[in-house]
């Protein structure tokens, strides 16, 4: 495996429909997305939303069928993929604040941009369908139909004449409109006496009217599509202009029956904000009017499905890059706790193991030795055991009830506490205790996010120079790399340009700092302070958390750094408040936390040091 192999793109934005289809692995979310209904596809960045949406397009369907030699899914609609991006969003935000432009430009320019974008996407879809139907070759009949279609579109969309009746010419005419728009902005900006009597009509055209006309024209020419249903697939709704978000959600109930929407967005956030605005009356209801498909792990079923998907994804990756049939499990192994404990405890200590039952909790076996050793070096754990009626020098469960209610619960805490206490007496150890390893844990760490999974596995594979045919990465190597990857991810979050918010006048808080505070709180409670069974690893955003901090958490959810754990509520007037979250498992290694969900604490409790009303000044910086 060479370094260059590693650089393959795993961002659907860059990939062609053909490339997406070639490597596509269907998951349960895709099956749900295929439904003939309005759908909100919700998930953090990197969770595969764009891939799923792009896979609905006619061209992706065509290529999937070609590469897999199989029949397509029986789609009940023709999908029009409509992208947006952050560059656009920011440009429009800055434009809206610009003082040089007259009001009619400010009001209509962003709408004109959106309309132009949608029309170009619609033309691309028409082109895809025509190409597929003609098997990518042109003949007189097809050319005649295209000419007919374009003649109708030119009239319906009031495209400037003279123009050749071809899809490409219409597209060029739309780009020219954009060029004219940009020139107009420059004239307003730099020519002090520039006056414009009126804007061209197309600045005022409604995108949906034009879609309707366009699809009708298409059905008139290509009769087999006369009754076709069209799916408008808007990607990354949360970074679309606000008015577009409002309008699309409004349309869930009122749209022409020939159209359905497939919208992707962050988990909860953007939609909730828009729906909770009092001036906006949204009647659409989940299940009645639209379905919600979530792409991140929030329950056991999701985790199982993710593990199975992850397995397929990595197997496919390994097949592409290894000459032999090396499998992911061969390289990373299992994540059984005993793999790590066997490195910690000599055979002498676990000598009675063979004479006893297979349970690692049994006297003399791994967990028994772990609890015993921890009680020896950790006074508070010793007291805990005594308080629970367990002999610290002979800590094994006397009943199934004790096993379930105490021993199983404290095991992950004990493993982490022991590793860090043992490594350096004080917890500030530089030595990595090897706690993060094994294929199942790698899946868990990635929280259902394929981009994380590919990124992490790439980093792990790059970390070793071992011969590919024998490649097996030790638990110590895996743990070091995972820890490093986790820290870099936190750095990345902190350096994200939107990560700084002014929470009090001239007091800024960075998302990375906020996440560090949360993680360090959990870590301190679990590893440094007195041993308790009910430790925390989740938090609830309570009423005492300032709005700007809630905004930062919202960004964290969007970036996948914070996981929304109560996704039953998609639409809520409270936004993120009163909802439960945890840090992404990918951040847990940075704070030496087990990959496990524990109890919840109020976020304001984490952020307030002592009895102060405000959050700690130490977290903020000033301009």
């Amino acid at each position: 495996m060479t370094k260059l192999d590693i650089y393959e793109s795993f961002n659907a934005r860059y990939l062609s429909f053909e490339d997406i289809a070639r490597t596509f692995i269907a998951n349960s979310q895709f099956e749900q997305l295929l439904g003939n209904n309005h759908t909100l596809l919700m998930g953090p960045r990197g969770s595969g939303k764009t891939t799923l949406l792009k896979m609905l397009t006619p061209l992706s369907q065509y290529y999937f069928s070609k590469y897999n030699n199989s029949k397509n899914w029986d789609l009940q609609f023709l999908a029009i993929y409509i992208p947006t991006d952050i560059q656009w969003k920011r440009q429009i935000e800055i434009f809206n604040k610009h003082l040089s432009y007259p009001q009619n430009i400010i009001d209509n320019f962003p709408r004109f941009l959106v309309t132009n974008n949608i029309l170009i996407c619609l033309l691309n879809t028409f082109e895809q369908i025509i190409n597929i139907n003609s098997d990518f070759s042109s003949n007189d009949a097809i050319l005649y139909q295209e000419t007919q279609l374009c003649t109708q579109l030119i009239n319906s969309w009031n495209i400037e004449k003279p123009i050749l009746p071809s899809l490409n010419s219409i597209k060029q005419a739309l780009y020219k409109r954009l060029q004219f728009g940009n020139t107009l902005l420059k004239k307003f900006r730099y020519e002090p006496n520039f006056q414009l009597d009126s804007l061209p009509d197309y600045f005022y055209q409604d995108y949906f009217d034009l879609i309707l006309l366009g699809c009708t024209d298409f059905g008139n020419v290509f009769k087999e599509y006369r009754n076709a249903k069209w799916a408008l697939c808007f990607d990354e709704l949360e970074i679309s202009p606000d008015w577009l978000q409002h309008e699309l959600i409004q349309k869930f109930r009122s749209i022409d029956q020939r159209f359905i929407f497939k919208l992707t967005t962050s988990p909860l956030v953007s939609i909730v904000d828009k729906l909770s605005m009092k001036t906006l009356e949204i009647e659409a209801r989940e299940d009645e009017d639209y379905r919600v498909v979530r792409t991140w792990n929030y329950n056991l079923k999701g985790e199982i499905e993710w593990n199975s998907f992850g397995e397929k994804l990595l197997t496919q990756k390994f097949q592409r890059f290894f000459d032999n049939d090396r499998k992911p499990i061969d390289v990373f192994g299992s994540d059984e706790e005993t793999r790590n404990l066997s490195k910690n405890f000599s055979k002498l200590k676990v000598q009675e193991r063979s004479n006893l039952s297979n349970s690692p909790y049994a006297k003399g076996n791994y967990y028994y030795v772990l609890f015993k050793e921890l009680a020896y070096i950790d006074e508070t754990f010793r007291y805990f055991l005594i308080h629970k009626g367990i002999d610290p020098s002979n800590p094994f469960p006397h009943s199934d009830e004790q096993l379930d209610q105490i021993f199983r619960k404290i095991l992950p805490i004990a493993i982490f506490r022991f590793a860090y206490k043992k490594a350096n007496k004080s917890i500030r150890s530089r030595k990595n205790p090897g706690l993060y390893y094994g294929l199942p844990m790698i899946y868990e760490l990635c929280d259902g996010n394929p981009r994380f999974l590919i990124g992490l596995v790439d980093a792990l594979l790059l970390s070793t120079n071992e011969n590919a045919s024998k490649l097996k990465i030790t638990i110590q190597q895996q743990s070091i790399m995972i820890h490093d990857f986790s820290k870099k991810y936190l750095d990345l979050i902190g350096s994200h340009p939107d990560s700084n918010r002014e929470i009090y006048p001239n007091k800024f808080l960075n998302l990375g700092t906020l996440l560090k505070e949360i993680g360090s709180y959990f870590s301190s409670k679990m590893l440094r302070e007195n041993f308790i069974m009910d430790v925390f690893s989740t938090f609830v955003i309570d009423a005492n958390v300032p709005d700007k901090i809630v905004e930062l958490i919202e960004l964290g959810v969007h970036l996948g750094a914070v996981i929304y754990l109560d996704p039953k509520t998609v639409v809520s007037s409270e936004g993120l408040r009163d909802k439960k979250f945890r840090l992404s498992y990918l951040l847990h290694p940075t704070f030496s936390l087990p990959i496990r969900e524990f109890k919840s604490v109020k976020l304001s409790t984490i952020l307030k040091k002592g009895k102060h009303e405000k959050i700690s000044d130490q977290l903020t910086f000033s301009l």
């Binding site: 560059q87 656009w88 691309n124 750095d491 902190g494 350096s495 994200h496 910086f621």
Partner: protein, 312 residues
């Protein structure tokens, strides 16, 4: 679209200057060019010194202000984050002092200016219809090596720069060209923000080996994940070469991508990015700035001056 001609020249090739605009910052090098090139300035030269309206108590800043006063500069104060401050100033001066001229030579010392200030000057000179030919000489004073600051500065302003950005349709992915500097993590977050295919530019070590080592060390995480063919090293003293490779790259990318340049490193790179944006029209330059959280480093001049002639 106006034609732009550029050329690197040596200080000895500078003609007599009609208008000079400098900035009084927190660096020792702020005054270097004004002193060194004073032979090109005469009594009729309009001399303007722009000072930041923040941190005015900085000792070096006070020294610089005094020296500029001694050299006969008129002092004007403005915010380093104000995009229109320079534009308004330039319009005022040209209208007042040069409306009868057919051509003028303008020297802009951008060594201590914020990116917004010299972007604003160039934009104004490019787009405004002054009815006179303008020869612009962008002068930059190299600084002696200074180790990078230990604290991490945040990207507070991430915006398209006015005049160097225009609307496009998101029908193509974004190619992000980052001009890297030696402030830890500033470039790293941009790749995630833009969700773009990334290209990196930084100095080769023909000039300052220590600086290059710092850039590579502090951006190691980013450099590791970018394919080598997307990493470009350029000689900072040869802006014509830099302009050529950056122009060629942008031009080749425009077929498949929407191109954004994010200059985080040395100021000459930003200047070249701005020029390319004006030449190619649909290449955006974004301001990636820590604003007032920027580190105030007392950069000392190393004695070398880089001059780039721009004719519009």
């Amino acid at each position: 679209m106006k034609e732009i001609k550029t050329k690197g020249i040596s200080p000895s090739e500078l003609p007599q200057i009609d208008l000079v605009i400098v900035s009084s910052g927190y660096e020792k090098r702020s005054t270097f060019i004004a002193i060194k090139l004073r032979g090109c300035l005469n009594d009729s030269t309009i001399k303007l010194c722009c000072g930041f309206n923040s941190n005015k108590d900085n000792i070096q800043r006070k020294r610089n202000d005094k020296l500029f006063e001694k050299l006969g500069f008129e002092y004007i104060e403005g915010s380093g984050d104000d995009d229109h401050f320079m534009e308004a100033l330039l319009n005022r001066v040209i209208e007042k002092s040069f409306s009868q001229f057919q051509s003028i030579n303008v020297l802009i010392d951008y060594s201590s200016m914020t990116r917004l200030w010299y972007a604003s000057l160039l934009r104004c000179l490019y787009y405004s219809n002054y009815n006179l030919a303008i020869n612009i000489y962008f002068a930059y004073s190299f600084a002696k090596y200074h180790p990078p600051a230990k604290n991490i500065v945040q990207n507070i302003h991430v915006n398209p720069i006015d005049g160097y950005s225009q609307f496009s349709i998101p029908d193509k992915p974004t190619a992000l060209i980052i001009g890297m500097g030696y402030e830890a993590e500033r470039a790293y977050g941009l790749t995630e923000y833009f969700d773009a295919e990334t290209f990196l530019f930084y100095n080769d070590n023909s000039k300052e080996e220590e600086f290059v080592k710092d850039v590579e060390r502090l951006n190691n995480d980013l450099i590791k994940i970018i394919p080598p063919e997307r990493i470009y090293k350029y000689p900072i003293s040869d802006l014509e070469y830099l302009e050529r490779i950056l122009y060629d790259l942008c031009k080749s990318l425009l077929d498949k991508y929407r191109v954004v340049i994010a200059p985080c490193g040395p100021k000459p790179f930003t200047l070249i990015s701005l020029l390319i944006s004006l030449r190619l029209n649909n290449v955006d330059v974004w301001r990636i700035s820590p604003g007032d959280t920027r580190n105030q480093i007392t950069r000392t001049p190393n004695g070398e001056i880089l001059i780039y002639q721009v004719r519009i």
